[in-house]
């Protein structure tokens, strides 16, 4: 009996560790809520997609940042631009493979320009694109294209200290 209990516990634990919660971003109201939830934290918001090779290459470094700073006032937010029809088939398996154990988001806007312009009016939508927010919710730096771990870390440390 004890062995069965331990076995069940292990199953539950492993399911919990690798469970994926992927939420849609439908409107600017959702972005307002997300932004509000990040107040008081230094946040790195990364726009990516499974079809984007540089995004996929950059992904492990972002996970490394998360693991190194998750115990500080740091939040990592992934927003995928994969189409909603491919969340189950492509995004979730990718997140599982990379051991992402926190809530991530996907673009579900009717008009994608609203999302792009909300984030940055000068951004044309090229990915990967990364924005770092300070604890007051202001963007302190933005990165277009794949960047190195050290570049992100430098900016995060500036904001944490």
């Amino acid at each position: 009996m004890k062995a069965i209990k331990i076995f069940l516990l292990l199953i539950l634990l492993s399911a919990g560790i690798f469970s994926q919660e992927v939420k849609p971003l439908n409107s600017t109201k959702d972005l307002d809520e997300l932004k509000e939830s990040l107040k008081g934290k230094v946040a790195l918001v990364n726009f990516w997609a499974t079809w984007c090779a540089p995004c996929v290459k950059e992904f492990p470094d972002l996970i490394k940042l998360y693991n190194n700073y998750k115990d500080k006032d740091f939040k990592l937010v992934f927003i995928t631009t994969d189409v909603p029809e491919e969340i189950e088939s492509k995004v979730i398996p990718f997140l599982k493979k990379n051991n992402v154990d926190f809530v991530t988001y996907y673009n579900n806007f009717q008009n994608v320009e609203e999302l792009i312009n909300y984030i940055d009016k000068d951004w044309e939508g090229a990915i990967p694109s990364t924005y770092i927010y300070n604890k007051d919710g202001k963007v302190t730096s933005s990165f277009l294209g794949k960047k190195e771990y050290s570049e992100f870390e430098k900016e995060i440390l500036k904001n944490l200290n």
């Binding site: 726009f47 079809w51 984007c52 673009n107 951004w123 939508g125």
Partner: protein, 192 residues
């Protein structure tokens, strides 16, 4: 004291840490440029004669958001060439060689030339950052439309034919109504 020393330094820091390619948009005139095709032919803006407009499409051999547009752009080129519109695909990616482009053209049987933008000079002049990203230049070398081809890479789900609309309005002698649009795409890989 703060205003004189710290504030300018702070502003400089903020500006230097944000990646922005100051470019051109609708209403701006563009300077002449020359690009080479993979077979060595030169394509210059100043040599585009008898065209009502030139469509410049920032292109890639690798970007998965470009490939679904092959059929649509081939059809559009055939349809609009007869109406006086010229289409050029421009490859500004430093990561893609002349040989890559040559193989890409052969594989896709493009109805338009794919030109190499060495050292991303044209991408820099226009401030292009994405593939696909299009600019429509009228016969006065002024940008009249900048943005996406349409609003869905899946042709069956397109509800807004932005590039076509701009070309139709231009051909009808009207002002382009929607001059700028955005969508997601791959970054242009500039030379270091």
């Amino acid at each position: 004291m703060f205003k004189k020393t710290i504030l300018p330094a702070l502003l400089l820091f903020i500006i230097s840490s944000v990646t922005i390619y100051a470019g051109k948009g609708p209403g701006d005139k563009i300077e002449d440029f020359t690009l080479k095709s993979v077979d060595g032919a030169s394509y210059s803006l100043s040599n585009v004669k008898d065209s009502k407009a030139l469509v410049i499409m920032f292109w890639s051999t690798e970007c998965p958001n470009v490939q679904p547009y092959t059929g649509r752009l081939n059809e559009m080129t055939k349809e609009y060439s007869g109406k006086g519109i010229t289409f050029w695909a421009v490859n500004s990616n430093s990561t893609e060689s002349y040989d890559d482009v040559k193989a890409h053209i052969k594989a896709h049987n493009y109805a338009f030339p794919e030109l190499k933008d060495d050292n991303n000079k044209l991408a820099d002049q226009l401030g292009a950052t994405r593939t696909p990203e299009v600019y429509v230049i009228n016969s006065d070398n002024v940008i009249v439309y900048h943005g996406r081809i349409d609003n869905n890479r899946d042709a069956s789900k397109v509800t807004s034919n932005d590039l076509k609309n701009a070309l139709d309005e231009l051909l009808a002698g009207k002002e382009v109504t929607v001059k700028t649009t955005k969508t997601f795409g791959c970054t242009i890989k500039r030379a270091d």
